[in-house]
Amino acid sequence: MQTVLAWGFGVLAVVCALLVFRLDSMARVTFALLASFLFVAFEVLLLGLNYLGVVLVLMTVMEMVIMAVFMVMYMMNPAGLVPMAMYHNRAGAMAVSVGTFCLLAAGTLLVDWPERVGRPVSDPTAELGAELMSSQMPTMMTLGMVLFAAILATVTLSMPRGRYDRFGGSPRGRPTDPVPGGLGPTTVSPGERR
């Protein structure tokens, strides 16, 4: 039963992944990617990793909704009403990816996988937490720093108006923004800033 489910979810995940590059509508593309991730999450749940599976669902849904906003923002044809293609070097890309798949699949099928060592623990969630808070503490701290750096980098890169645009000379009181939240045109032109 579990093997059947594993194959089923796997096939669905791959079909949705292929749809990502076949559909015209950017909104549908995003939701196809979401569906693919959800099937991956189901596979992870099938592997008994309840916490990681549910967190994957939670995270990918949030991520894809935000992704959808950006897709509609940047793609020229978000609704796919006028089909268009934006590719470069399709043949090469296809060759490389088919080659990669053949290599990985050959490895999967031909390599003699080792026998399983040990048995699944009764509570993988607690196991993961204990591991992260003890011997893997450096990993956890690195992840924290990476996420913090990502927040800073993201805000810095995407904020058009800097401190002098918003506050003028003295950074006190409420900023003067044409659009609240720090949006709106800059007084310093991009050329000068560079």
Partner: protein
């Protein structure tokens, strides 16, 4: 359970993502390819953890790290696209090839 369904799915996701990352011009679509590749890695790591050595919880930590990489990749990627688009009105990788060696 056998590892084949999980590993073959992971390989197929990775290869599909690679195709997208290589062939798409738009940076947003390219990032979707990268996300798919990372999803493949997540699945493979989870499968190896469960089917080869479920007592070693480092496997779960690896999955967690990969999931974090996925989130960071997307956030920073979109910020870069936003900055690029604002500065140059560009959203394709071909037009942002200044650093090509």
């Amino acid at each position: 359970m056998t590892p084949e369904p999980f590993l073959l799915t992971a390989s197929a996701l990775f290869a599909t993502g690679l195709y997208g990352a290589l062939s798409q011009q738009s940076i947003v679509m390219l990032m979707m390819g990268l996300e798919l590749m990372i999803a493949g890695v997540v699945l493979a790591a989870a499968a190896f953890h469960h089917l080869v050595n479920p007592e070693a919880s480092e496997g779960q930590v690896l999955v967690l790290v990969t999931v974090t990489a996925m989130a960071v990749e997307m956030a920073v990627g979109f910020a870069v696209v936003t900055a690029l688009f604002r500065a140059r009105d560009v959203d394709t990788s071909d037009q942002a090839a200044d650093l090509r060696g």
